[in-house]
């Protein structure tokens, strides 16, 4: 048992931290939670910064060099990712789906041509990817996907609609889950595609979300012709590919959230020293002290549980059952933490835009609203508890679901 990183890993972290200090974009202000007015501007800055990381050898640390990676281990990737998310989350957000889902899917399940064609251009910042899984009638029930792909002369003709697609309007490509066979059991009729967003018949309609931003879009497909070569795996393997990649990437995602939230706790403590209640700084109020401590405790749970899962994955190469709870350990605490944070602000908690009385640039107002999506996106808490109950604890499916194939 050893919770410390090795001296080599610590040295690598220090090296990367000092690189990062010198290479953050000039126009990026760390005291603002959102520096860019338009999504296009945000996307541009992401791409430039990604290229800078790539050129200095700090991308995809754990992937082979021939695909644009660095040929190191998952530990180096964790160190780089944690440092980035504890320092400049904003600069990474447009690439979250790209690096968290597209890269591992292509790397793990893609064929040689797909890996060589797509991975280097993702890693050097050229391409942003989005994810087309959810549909109006396939939310938590992802296997209910009804967007159709019909094979015809070396192409698939795709028709249908996706929804809640993050950064679709910035994306160059999309990882897409569609139905290729409506006659077999639901999970078995799905296939996985890499879709060029510039193809004729692809339409993107941005959706405004609870925060007022339009991070997500609806995607419409009208006779979109996708070459057969863009299919990942075999026909009918789509579900398996989608699930496998989610499992493998979980550990890294959880480690990133742990690092980002540690920074948030510091931010919260700073705020609690400045905002007042009963004539004294909130930091001296016993109730808020309890809430701050609980926030920290939950972040420590996320951090150390994450290290344990990571360690098991490094050893056994496959994610263990303890990894299945990671998403619950960041999504639900984040809602409690942001709620506590705006609770510390009194009436100022309503002030969100630019005003002399805005606290910490309105970060907590934004985060409070955005956190409501955390327990819905990428596997709702209810679905995750079903998975834990059924796959980890071995509880039976309910009768209505067990009957349906």
């Amino acid at each position: 048992m050893d919770f410390r990183f090795s001296p080599e890993q610590e040295a690598f972290r220090e090296e990367f931290v000092s690189w990062l200090e010198k290479n953050l974009p000039d126009d990026w202000n760390p005291s603002r939670y959102r520096n860019y007015d338009s999504q296009e501007e945000w996307g541009r800055v992401y791409r430039e910064f990604q290229r800078r990381l790539f050129n200095s050898g700090y991308t995809a640390m754990h992937y082979p060099k021939k695909y644009g990676g660095q040929g190191k281990t998952l530990m180096e990737e964790v160190i780089v990712s944690q440092t980035l998310f504890s320092t400049c989350t904003e600069l990474r957000i447009p690439g979250v789906v790209t690096h968290g889902m597209a890269v591992p899917t292509i790397f793990t399940c893609g064929n040689e041509e797909q890996k060589r064609e797509f991975l280097p251009k993702i890693l050097d910042g050229t391409h942003i990817w989005c994810q087309g899984f959810s549909e109006p009638d396939a939310g938590s029930d992802v296997a209910n996907v009804s967007t159709r792909a019909v094979k015809q002369n070396g192409h698939y003709i795709i028709n249908g609609q996706k929804v809640w697609t993050s950064f679709a309007h910035l994306a160059d490509y999309c990882i897409l889950l569609v139905r290729t066979d409506p006659t077999v059991a639901r999970h078995k009729g799905l296939s996985y595609f890499l879709l060029d967003m510039k193809l004729p018949g692809v339409e993107v309609r941005p959706m405004t979300q609870i925060t007022g931003e339009a991070e997500f879009s609806e995607l419409f497909f009208d006779d979109v012709r996708v070459p057969v070569e863009m299919r990942v795996g075999e026909e009918g393997q789509g579900w398996q590919i989608a699930i496998t990649t989610l499992m493998f990437e979980r550990v890294l995602g959880d480690a990133i959230m742990g690092a980002a939230y540690e920074t948030n706790i510091q931010k919260m403590i700073e705020m609690a020293s400045q905002t007042k209640r009963s004539g004294r700084p909130v930091i001296h109020d016993p109730i808020f002290r309890q809430q701050l401590a609980q926030a920290y405790i939950e972040v420590m749970v996320l951090k150390y549980h994450g290290l344990r899962s990571l360690s098991n994955q490094l050893k056994s190469k496959i994610p263990g059952p303890e990894g299945s709870i990671g998403k619950l350990l960041w999504s639900e605490p984040n809602q409690r933490i942001t709620e506590a944070a705006i609770g510390m602000q009194g009436p100022n908690s309503q002030i969100m835009g630019s005003s002399p009385w805005t606290i910490q640039d309105g970060y907590w107002q934004y985060s409070f609203l955005r956190s409501k999506g955390n327990t819905i996106e990428a596997g709702s808490s209810e679905i995750l508890r079903n998975i834990i109950g059924e796959r980890v604890l071995g509880l039976p499916k309910d009768v209505s679901r067990a009957k349906r194939k």
Binding site: M1, F3, R289, L292, A293, Q294, H305, R308, L395, P396
Partner: protein, 380 residues
């Protein structure tokens, strides 16, 4: 970084599980629940043979010198079995106190005897007026010649009725300053003026006592550690014991989850096992979330006691004590709800887990106390 258990640690746990499954079944726990003494000489003798009294004691004094991480393997299993008896008070409280603060002759006097299973000890900390404040120590120790005279009452002293000696925290200088004026004393329970009475407690699996001190004279050799600076020692002693208690919580919560989950698979209502209903399934899943989270935090806290810097060790102990003890309460409470009327019945074992959970939650600083420690460490 390697956050996984070694082969040796897994073997320690396996051996403890085998022993406790055989020697400490639920029937034994129930018998001891009703029994004033709270354990039998038979099981105690077998625990001595298992080397369990020697785990923390260094080889020089007849022990085997396990570190905290190895010890929690045993404690998790003890928590799983809701083991009654004075193991925790002797090995986690008395031994840690002597190892932390004792001089050579004190170690020589007590440790070999404990290692051989001949004597037992405990720690007298809480006072009737102290409430949840772990640092409330007002019992007076008056200087008398080159010794001291102790007067006052300590409550919630675990297993004092079956101990030979206790470590008592008292004030040798008046005031409220924790860092000044507290001294630890080694007091034989047979000394004149010491009287012990068993408290009627909610959790019968762990006996708590009141200990009265009436003009108890102690000689200078009884002073444990630096005079007037006892809190420095005590806080480190408590930290290790808190982490030990967390291991009990994790083991107990794990078993409570298993019992509830197994029941949810076989109990049929509305034509299906109740575990198929999401209302039950999600509670079971939440148990798993909290059990595994507790285990991760426990490992960090145990590791930090032997390997972290003092601040990390203190932080980890308080984070773990707040989290793991509340998780155990959550899990055993949900366990009763899932078992329904069965779980509410005296004859069902779930009640033993809930009672131990609540006792552990309050012992050695409750979650509110520890959260205050956490925020103090964070902002100081």
């Amino acid at each position: 970084m390697d956050v996984s258990l070694s082969k040796v640690q897994l073997d320690i746990a396996k051996e403890a599980r085998r022993f406790l499954d055989k020697e400490c079944p639920t029937d034994y726990v129930r018998d001891m629940y009703e029994d004033e003494r709270g354990f039998t000489d038979e099981i105690w003798g077998k625990m001595i043979e298992m080397d369990w009294m020697r785990v923390r004691i260094p080889e020089t004094y007849g022990g085997i010198g396990m570190d905290q991480m190895d010890l929690i393997m045993v404690l998790e299993e003890m928590g799983r079995a809701v083991l009654p008896g004075p193991f925790f008070s002797t090995v986690l409280l008395a031994v840690e106190a002597i190892m932390e603060a004792g001089n050579d002759s004190q170690k020589e006097r007590y440790l070999p005897g404990i290692a051989a299973g001949e004597i037992r000890g405990t720690l007298a900390l809480h006072e009737p007026d102290g409430g949840a404040d772990l640092g409330y120590i007002q019992m007076e120790a008056r200087a008398d010649g080159d010794g001291f005279v102790l007067d006052g009452t300590k409550i919630s002293v675990p297993d004092a009725h079956v101990a030979n000696f206790l470590v008592c925290a008292a004030r040798t200088e008046p005031g409220n300053d924790l860092t000044q004026g507290i001294t630890l004393f080694l007091v034989d329970l047979s000394a004149d003026g010491v009287s012990v009475s068993l408290l009627p407690t909610m959790d019968g699996t762990r006996k708590l006592c009141a200990v009265d001190f009436k003009a108890v004279q102690v000689n200078p050799e009884a002073i444990l550690g630096e005079p007037h600076k006892g809190w420095k020692h005590l806080s480190r002693i408590l930290q290790r014991a808190q982490v030990g208690l967390c291991a009990e919580c994790v083991g107990g919560a794990q078993r409570a989850m298993e019992i509830a989950t197994e029941y949810a698979k076989i109990r049929v209502q509305f034509d299906q096992p109740i575990g198929a209903f999401q209302a039950i399934k999600h509670r079971c899943a939440q148990m798993y979330v909290e059990v595994e989270s507790s285990r991760s935090i426990l490992y960090w806290a145990a590791w930090a006691q032997d390997n972290g810097d003092p601040k990390e060790a203190a932080m980890a102990a308080s984070v773990a004590k707040a989290y793991c003890s509340e998780a155990y309460t959550h899990v055993s409470t949900a366990g009763i709800q899932i078992l329904g009327g069965t779980g509410f019945a005296w004859e069902n074992e779930m009640q033993l887990y809930l009672k131990r959970a609540k006792a552990n939650e309050q012992a050695l600083g409750d979650p509110i106390y520890h959260r205050e420690q956490v925020i103090t460490l964070l902002t100081d």
